[in-house]
C-alpha cells in the first residue's frame, strides 16, 4: 500500500465518520459541566463521615479502598515482572561500574552540579515526605509522595554519578520497603476483619478534620501505599539503570 493510497483511504474514512462525530460533538455537555452525582455526594458527606478534607484520599483509601488494594498489587506485580525479566537476561550480579561507550567518556560531575543536586535532592525528598504525610488534608497522597521520594533518589544519580548512586541504593532494602508497604495495606484490611467488621472498614478513631492525623485507618493505608510506591519506583529505576552498567564485575 503506497502512502498516497493510505492517505486517500484515511480521508475517505474521515468524511464517512464526520456525521457521527458531529452528532456526538454537538450533544456533549458544555465545558466544565459534569452531570455525574457521585463527586458532589462525596464532597457533601466525606468531611462529616470520614473527618478528612482531601476527598480524593477519602475515595482512594476508604470508600473505594478495595480498589486501591488491587492497584497496590498491580504495581507490585509490574515491578516484580520488570525485575524478573531484566535480571533474567542480565544475571543476578551487580556492579557499581558504569558502562562506557567509545567516544563518550563519563566526565566527573562539576562541583556546581553536585551542589545543586545535593540541595534539590534533599528538598525533593522532604517535599515527597510532606506530600505523603498530608494526604488527608491537602492534595497529594501516598502515591504522589512515593513517586516524588523515588525521583529524589534520581537527584543522587545526577549529582554523584552512577557509582555513588549505586552504592547508596540497595536492592534488598528497597524490595523490603516495597513489599512491606503492600503487606501493610493488606494487613489493614485483615485488622478490620479481626475486629469483627468488613474488610478495610475504618476501625480507628477518625480524629478531628483538618488535623494531620485525621482519617483513622486511612493514615496507615496511606503510609503503606507511600512505602510501596517509593520502593517500587526506586527498584524500577535501579533495575533499569543496572542495564547501563559495565558488563564485568567491579575489580576491587
Amino acid at each position: 500500500m503506497t502512502p498516497r493510497l493510505r492517505l486517500i483511504i484515511f480521508l475517505l474514512a474521515c468524511i464517512g465518520l464526520m456525521p457521527a462525530f458531529a452528532h456526538v460533538a454537538m450533544r456533549m455537555p458544555s465545558f466544565g459541566a459534569h452531570p455525574l452525582p457521585y463527586g458532589e455526594t462525596i464532597n457533601a458527606v466525606a468531611t462529616k463521615e470520614r473527618h478528612v478534607t482531601n476527598m480524593v484520599s477519602a475515595v482512594n483509601f476508604d470508600y473505594r479502598g478495595f480498589d486501591t488494594l488491587g492497584e497496590e498489587f498491580m504495581l507490585l506485580c509490574a515491578v516484580t515482572g520488570i525485575t524478573v525479566l531484566l535480571r533474567g537476561t542480565r544475571g543476578e550480579q551487580t556492579s557499581a561500574r558504569p558502562g562506557v561507550l567509545e567516544g563518550r567518556p563519563i566526565r566527573p560531575r562539576s562541583e556546581a552540579v553536585m551542589l545543586i543536586c545535593r540541595i534539590f535532592g534533599t528538598l525533593t525528598l522532604m517535599f515527597g515526605i510532606y506530600v505523603a504525610l498530608h494526604a488527608m488534608t491537602t492534595p497529594g497522597g501516598g502515591f504522589q509522595g512515593g513517586v516524588i521520594i523515588a525521583s529524589a533518589t534520581l537527584m543522587i544519580f545526577m549529582g554523584e554519578t552512577y557509582r555513588g548512586w549505586r552504592r547508596l541504593m540497595h536492592s534488598e532494602i528497597l524490595d523490603a520497603i516495597e513489599g512491606g508497604g503492600a503487606t501493610l495495606y493488606a494487613l489493614c484490611g485483615f485488622a478490620s476483619m479481626v475486629a469483627g467488621k468488613p474488610f478495610l472498614y475504618n476501625i480507628l478513631p477518625l480524629g478531628t478534620p483538618r488535623d494531620l492525623f485525621s482519617g483513622g485507618l486511612m493514615l496507615i493505608e496511606n503510609a503503606g501505599v507511600a512505602c510501596a510506591v517509593a520502593g517500587g519506583f526506586a527498584v524500577t529505576f535501579l533495575e533499569f539503570l543496572e542495564e547501563t552498567r559495565a558488563e564485568k564485575e567491579d575489580p576491587e
Binding site: F31, G32, N54, V56, T89, G99, V100, L101, E102, V131, P139, G140, G141, F143, Q144, V147, I148, A150, S151, L154, F233, T236, F237, F240, L241, E243, T244, A246, E247
Partner: protein
C-alpha cells in the same frame, strides 16, 4: 473557559503534535517530557492537583528516565553473550 485554559489546551495540542512529529527517539523523549509538563499544568488549572502531581512526577521524571536508559542500553548493545559478535563495548 478562560484565557489560561485556552493557552494550556493549545500548548497541549502543540506539544502532543511535537511528540508525534519528532523522529529521533532521544528528542522524542524530551518532547514527551514537555508534553507531560504541559499536561500537569493543565490539570493544575483544571483544579485537579492530585492528578497534576502524578502526571508531573511520572510523566516528566520517571518515564523519560526509563526511556533514556533503554536508549542508552540499546546503544551499548550488550546482548551477544553467546554469539560473540563484536559489540561496541567489547575490546
Amino acid at each position: 473557559m478562560n484565557a489560561l485554559l485556552t493557552v494550556l489546551l493549545l500548548m497541549t495540542a502543540l506539544t502532543g503534535s511535537g511528540v508525534a512529529l519528532t523522529r529521533t527517539p532521544r528528542r522524542q523523549v524530551m518532547a514527551m517530557a514537555a508534553n507531560g509538563l504541559v499536561l500537569a499544568l493543565l490539570f493544575m488549572a483544571l483544579q485537579a492537583p492530585d492528578v497534576a502531581f502524578s502526571e508531573l512526577t511520572v510523566g516528566t521524571a520517571a518515564l523519560p528516565l526509563l526511556f533514556l536508559v533503554i536508549l542508552a542500553s540499546i546503544r551499548m548493545d550488550r546482548s551477544p553473550r553467546d554469539g560473540d559478535k563484536q559489540g561496541p563495548d567489547k575490546p
